[in-house]
């Protein structure tokens, strides 16, 4: 547990010392979500209809943007070797890195989302569901993305490969995440989509770090 906290603390501290990287993902999300209402025009009906999809795709791309830097710096400076030799199991340390990634990319996006939802004219209950779906969905994106980041580590042109690998895996999260908001918009029950999203998060949270650790050991060979 102390090794988990050490990795988490170190990654958060590093992020504070180079704020640019964290702000890039958040700023990207804000810009993408702002461009659409400007481009599509002010009809409230249309905007409300496309809001869940756009905000979710924006969050997805923003999360992808910072994935390339998840393991690469540790791989280059040798920290990853030291993590592999730790007394603590590697999946636990990986889970700490993914948690840090979520705290630095997913959580800020989630916190900002109601503000951006205002541009699409969403009402308060829908905003709440959007917020909730992103709160469950963004850690899921981090866990799935981490596996892709670990698999493409040390590969030439890995960044492009990473998006090709990860984006299709994001589809279920996207479908059920924006589906929940859509359901609330059309006055339906959104519990089912939310439960599936939560179930996927549990699965990814359990198996993701373990798969990452295997991929990282191959990268270190």
């Amino acid at each position: 547990m102390s090794a988990f906290m050490a990795v988490l603390q170190r990654d958060l501290r590093l992020a504070l010392r180079r704020k640019g990287e964290v702000l890039t993902a958040v700023f990207f999300f804000v810009v993408v979500a702002t461009l659409f209402p400007l481009a599509i025009g002010p009809e409230p009906e249309t905007l409300r209809k496309i809001a869940p999809g756009i905000l979710w795709v924006g969050a997805m791309l923003a999360s992808l943007l910072s994935l390339g830097r998840l393991f690469a710096p540790d791989y280059q400076d040798g920290s990853l070797e030291q993590m592999a030799l730790s007394q603590a199991p590697l999946p636990v340390l990986v889970a700490a890195k993914v948690t840090a990634h979520w705290l630095l990319s997913g959580l800020p996006l989630t916190l900002l989302s109601p503000l951006l939802a205002l541009q699409f004219g969403l009402d308060a209950p829908t905003m709440g569901v959007l917020w909730l779906s992103l709160l469950v969905g963004t850690p899921l994106l981090s866990f799935i993305g981490a596996v892709g980041a670990a698999l493409t580590l040390g590969v030439r042109g890995g960044e492009v490969l990473l998006s090709l690998l990860v984006l299709p895996l994001y589809i279920p999260a996207l479908v059920f995440g924006s589906g929940a908001v859509e359901a609330q918009l059309s006055g339906l029950e959104y519990g089912a989509q939310m439960s599936i999203l939560m179930a996927m998060l549990l699965l990814a949270g359990f198996f993701g770090p373990w798969a990452c650790a295997l991929a990282l050991r191959i990268a270190l060979e």
Binding site: R10, R13, R17, G78, Q82, L85, Q87, L93, R217
Partner: protein
């Protein structure tokens, strides 16, 4: 007790070495020698469990490396070419983070004392980014004071160090041997570890 028998290493269809074998008991020190590219680093990485050997056995306390009973990766300190330092963090934060990640957390006082022992006390609060190459190496080597598992695998520990720092590292290794530790290191220069080291030439 570390025993290596008939070890060979193949990289990209090219045999780096074969038939390497030695036994190291507590208090033993082995100086790995050999020209560039004969596989010194590859040998250390095999022992650290990063890459598999093509043939041969590595046993630690009688247990085969790779078996679930083998505790080798918990019992070793590996210092590679890459220093595992974070440029944005200062020396104390780096040391504390690496000690905690290894599973042996160290207090800030202990980390600072280790750095002072290396003559880096006045640089302890600076980001590692601004330190010189030799000073960065000293920060990385300060881990030898904070983490003392039985087996040390040191890849070129003396490179980029000045005379006093080299003697300091040699004395640390001597102290480790005196308390029953095992040291395996690579170096291109002749080093005196209190007369306790024997050398093994790879690729001869």
């Amino acid at each position: 007790m570390l025993s290596v028998s008939n070890l060979s290493c193949v990289r990209a269809d090219h045999t780096l070495f074969r038939g390497v074998g030695f036994d190291l008991a507590p208090g033993d020190c082995l100086h790995l020698e050999g020209g560039n590219g004969v596989g010194k680093t590859s040998l250390l990485r095999i022992l650290a469990g990063f890459s598999p050997a093509a043939h041969g056995d590595v046993r630690w306390q009688g247990e085969l490396l790779g078996s679930s009973a083998c505790r080798l990766s918990q019992d070793l300190l590996y210092l590679g070419h890459q220093l595992a330092l974070k440029e944005e963090l200062n020396a104390v934060e780096n040391l504390q983070a690496s000690a905690a990640i290894a599973g042996t957390p160290a207090a800030a006082d202990a980390a600072l004392a280790a750095l002072q022992g290396l003559g880096l006390g006045s640089r302890a609060a600076l980001p590692v980014r601004v330190l010189s190459q030799g000073q960065k190496r000293r920060v990385a080597l300060a881990r030898l004071l904070l983490q003392t598992p039985p087996l040390w695998l040191l890849d070129e520990p003396f490179v980029a160090l000045d005379g006093p720092a080299q003697r300091w590292v040699a004395s640390l290794m001597e102290a480790h041997l005196a308390r029953g530790g095992i040291v395996l290191f690579t170096s291109h220069q002749p080093v005196d570890i209190g007369g306790r080291s024997r050398s093994y030439r790879l690729g001869a």
